[in-house]
Symmetry: C2
Subunit: 157 residues, 2 copies
């Protein structure tokens, strides 16, 4: 399928074969701005780059995870907007998708691809926060554990 060593990019049919997407879909996505081929022949035929292939594969996965095409479209916009990388925009990224949310991991940060919001909630931090604000609370825990250890043989339950 991928034949010539002299071609300038992948044709629609080649991309369809490689990615498992239908040629028809590729047209539609091109027209509606999901993934557009990064170059075009003089006759107006699509030529997809290797990077395009990866992007298309990514989109396919997202769809299979239940993300709607509309959200995919928005997510890709956000990706390009918030992660302005040049040559390999999608690689080195970890992506998590559940029906409604697309999350992108990059350099230890989790980002919502739709909103651009970044956050991770560390439960251990909540613990520390309580202890900082209420030192007695932790004291209490220690004492409880001591009591528990001491009374293990006495208690039946």
């Amino acid at each position: 399928m991928v034949s010539s060593r002299l071609q300038k990019g992948f044709s629609r049919q080649q991309v369809a074969n490689i990615t498992g997407l239908s040629a028809r879909q590729l047209n539609y996505w091109r027209r509606t701005g999901v993934i557009e081929p990064s170059s075009t022949t003089q006759g107006g035929h699509a030529r997809y780059s290797f990077t395009d292939l990866i992007a298309l594969k990514t989109v396919k996965q997202l769809l299979e995870q239940g993300v709607s095409l509309q959200k995919v479209r928005k997510s890709i916009l956000a990706l390009l907007q918030y992660l302005p990388m040049q040559q390999q925009p999608f690689s080195e990224l970890k992506v998590i998708a559940t029906g409604d949310v697309v999350l992108v991991f990059h350099q230890g940060v989790a980002m919502d691809a739709l909103t651009g919001q970044e956050w991770i909630m560390e439960v251990a931090e909540l613990e520390k926060e309580i202890v900082r604000q209420y030192p007695d609370a932790f004291q209490l825990v220690v004492e409880q554990e001591e009591l528990f250890t001491a009374n293990t043989d006495k208690k039946a339950s």
Copy 2:
């Protein structure tokens, strides 16, 4: 607020003060199974453990991230179900919440707290997959880059 060193747990009012939740909420949550106090006095009064405090703080954060209480309830069930830890069930966890989804990170794995599904999509893997299946594809990329480098001064765009 946290006074005695001999008490067996935190009272409702103490928990309310520490967590910032309302006493009413704690009652309701107790009755409807969001977070139940891990022990009870003979008179039926709630006694929350330190771990309960952390769980409650976690829930509060989730609510503030826009997760509904119903989803929180389901998520907590899933958490306990899929991560059966004994003493400190919530610590060492990283949690990510966007409106509809609660994700839990534990030992390098991301899990949807609602469904228990685990996945991370590594974009770099998609890349490798393509190259594995279609070695020519990568060949093509290399050639393209060579061509690109060679023609840089010729091309205006």
